[in-house]
Point group: C2
Chain length 232, copies 2
């Protein structure tokens, strides 16, 4: 039945990053990492922290060691995730959904377009975000602890596609960072960028985004451009 296979491949599914893509939390993460690093006497320029938000913690530490041209104290490294989490919680009350995030997800559901969320963050925090976005508890949500490697490895998006029963090659990954877009390419999905995490438009295009929108609201207004049809 070749017609059926072609039909199925022509309907996209969406796999969303969370921080900077659906919720406005990137800068709070940046500040929290700045405070965590200062807590172990590491002074890294803030823009270099910004450009590493959303990548796996292990790769972040590797990048840190290169930037500081030094081996890092194992005890300090061990303390970092806890220090970051404590600092992030202090800033969490200023975190908000990005404009159009709830409406975008609701519209996809309404149109019968499958979607899932895949984040390098941990489960506890994903639950908080789920509440903020007013999502059903059974929303497909893939977190760091469910895969071997976080972004820019493809595991999170591959697992998300599998979870909602779609072919990764029919999937559109929406993310704010170059790590999302690299993971999308490695997973063989199409990548769409959003500016709401603070990357520049061209950085996202050069990382493989085939379109870049301002934020979820802007993507929602242009769903036709990425092939989403209203249900018949």
């Amino acid at each position: 039945m070749p017609d059926v296979a072609i039909e199925s491949r022509s309907r996209p599914a969406f796999l969303f990053d969370l921080d900077g893509t659906l919720i406005d939390s990137v800068y709070q993460h940046v500040v929290a990492w700045r405070e965590a690093l200062a807590g172990v006497d590491i002074n890294l320029s803030v823009w270099k922290i910004h450009r590493r938000i959303g990548m796996s913690g292990g790769l972040f530490v590797t990048a840190l060691a290169r930037e500081l041209s030094t081996n890092l104290d194992p005890e300090a490294l061990e303390a970092l995730p806890r220090l970051h989490e404590e600092a992030f919680i202090r800033h969490y009350e200023s975190v908000q959904p990005l404009p159009g995030a709830r409406e975008l997800l609701a519209t996809l559901t309404e149109h019968g377009v499958p979607w899932a969320i895949a984040t390098s963050g941990v489960e506890r925090y994903a639950r908080l975000a789920c509440e903020m976005l007013e999502l059903a508890p059974d929303t497909p949500f893939i977190t760091r602890d469910q895969v071997r490697y976080a972004k820019p490895d493809p595991d999170l998006f591959l697992t998300a596609a599998e979870r909602i029963g779609v072919d990764i090659r029919d999937s559109i990954v929406v993310g704010d960072s170059v790590w999302d877009l690299l993971a999308a390419r490695r997973a063989r999905a199409l990548g769409i960028g959003v500016l709401s995490g603070g990357y520049g438009r061209e950085e996202l295009i050069y990382s493989g985004a085939f379109r870049v929108y301002e934020d979820p609201q802007d993507l929602l207004a242009h769903l036709d451009e990425v092939g989403v049809r209203r249900p018949l």
Copy 2:
């Protein structure tokens, strides 16, 4: 004496932006604006605040009204600068000089290259930054209150060039934001970008930067590329 004129035009002077260019303060300004806006019940996505740091306050307010599609309450607008300043002071202790900033300025002085600092910020804050960078009290420092219009108008850089007695057309403007680079073009200076304010490399190139470096340290290591010769 045509030889003398040619000689003088071949020696560059440097006009530096401050926030994000010499000191690592952009993200603290972003967070402070976020808090100030929340204080008057305005909710603007944080990346949109980030992309407006360093522009004149009047233009910032115009942009704000467009983004929010509403006229802003005059009392709220009047309170904003004070709320921002109070919030920024709370975050000021985490502000540091950018890597290589002091060394870059000291090297230029050593090589007899004229330089000045020109910032959209106010004088009181510039004095704090002056201390942080360990600069002499007579360092040429042009602030908001000394000109009619801040960036992206060319006034700050034009005044800075005049103050140190150089032709603006012989001057190299170093800045982290598109507002610096637009002001540089309007002033007829050459623009150099630095990534340390969190803009992407291509955003700065597309805004007219003829070179982009990571931060002051990276520019210092490549001074030959922008035509700075060691003194004979």
